[in-house]
Point group: C2
Chain length 219, copies 2
């Protein structure tokens, strides 16, 4: 697969079929992930794949509690805004994401594969999320959709217990990525254009070029 | 460029030529970056490109102070280990990285382009480092090398002042990525293999497959 196609069309895929992901595909996903950089090449990471229904069954209720908490706290202002202005483009986009996130939570146990990332001595996340994103890009090349979630952080202690992670090794939870063959279509997700979120040399100074439309696919 | 080639050969490139990066390449780098996912598609990010010698001149001494502090504190145990066992593979690899990091610091001002990433409301880093890694992968497709560094975090306050970043907006520094056309060769960096850093269903349980050699290039 072309790099640009992967970068532009790997969007969150929250509706998937229950079909299992073959071991060969899982190996390609993880082998691509570990090529990503880490500070000082320390590789203080662990990648925990979950496909056991019993383990997923323990995680599902936790995950749904976390999503409930997320929408009642951090996302509460956006829900209020969407209710106040239901027809604005932001509200429509947020509503779509909200329904999709609830769908993922309700079907958590039916995702065929989950990837949990853990990391040591990485205060910023810069030594784990490049690898996680590489995993998601490599999955895309095999037609496997993914969604990156961090919401289980709300129930970190129970996660440690479920997975049997030693408390004295100071592993930090980075993410849970759901994987599955998507039912929907790949596509480029809506974004604010580059010239609205980029500066040059000083804050608020124009970056010097405009990119009104996605540069891929090439015209 | 093939996705796998990018994922497997985008390693830290700390020795570069001073040639400028054309605007069209910069636009491709940033337009690829903003396709990456963020929690709730919030896109609470800013990408600050730096190519002004005067601004780089203010940052260079700060950067060198930070690198000095890094090797005197966080990396001190690894330096001690490398001095105690200079011929071990770990020590040789660490020494190579150390010299390369010092080279980057000494030549900070001669990198033609720097990218500073800032983010709001992203406690984990999961909503900025995928975009930064996409920028580095897109640069790779244009033959531009990059190195992801976070060490300027040690001098966050001075960075805010140099860039004129408003203090009341709660922007968090994510990284400084150096860009430039490399003098060295692209290649796959050494990593611990997947089966040593991956588990299945529970901590320390074998992942179920072994990947003794990188899966790319395909045999």
């Amino acid at each position: 697969m072309d790099l640009y196609e992967a970068l532009y069309t790997t969007r969150a895929m929250r509706r998937v079929r229950p079909d299992p992901i073959p071991d060969a595909v899982q190996a390609r996903i993880l082998d691509a992930a570990i090529r990503a950089p880490t500070g000082g090449n320390a590789q203080g990471w662990r990648f925990l794949l979950v496909d056991d229904p019993e383990v997923k069954g323990q995680l599902g209720p936790l995950y749904r509690d976390c999503i409930k908490q997320l929408f009642e706290t951090i996302y509460a202002p956006r829900i209020a805004e969407a209710e106040a202005n239901p027809d604005s483009p932001n509200s429509i986009e947020f509503g779509r994401m909200h329904r999709s996130a609830l769908h993922l939570a309700e079907h958590f146990e039916s995702f065929p594969l989950l990837l949990f990332g853990f990391v040591q001595l990485d205060p910023t996340g810069s030594s784990i999320y490049p690898a996680i994103w590489s995993a998601m890009l490599a999955a895309r090349a095999d037609g496997v959709g993914s969604t990156l979630t961090t919401v289980l952080l709300f129930r970190f202690e129970e996660m440690l217990r479920i997975f049997g992670i030693p408390r004295d090794e100071d592993w930090k939870f980075a993410c849970c990525v759901t994987f599955g063959y998507p039912t929907g279509r790949w596509g480029t997700a809506p974004r604010r254009p580059v010239h609205e979120v980029a500066y040059r040399n000083r804050w608020n100074e124009p970056v010097g070029f405009e990119v009104p439309r996605p540069l891929w696919p090439h015209p």
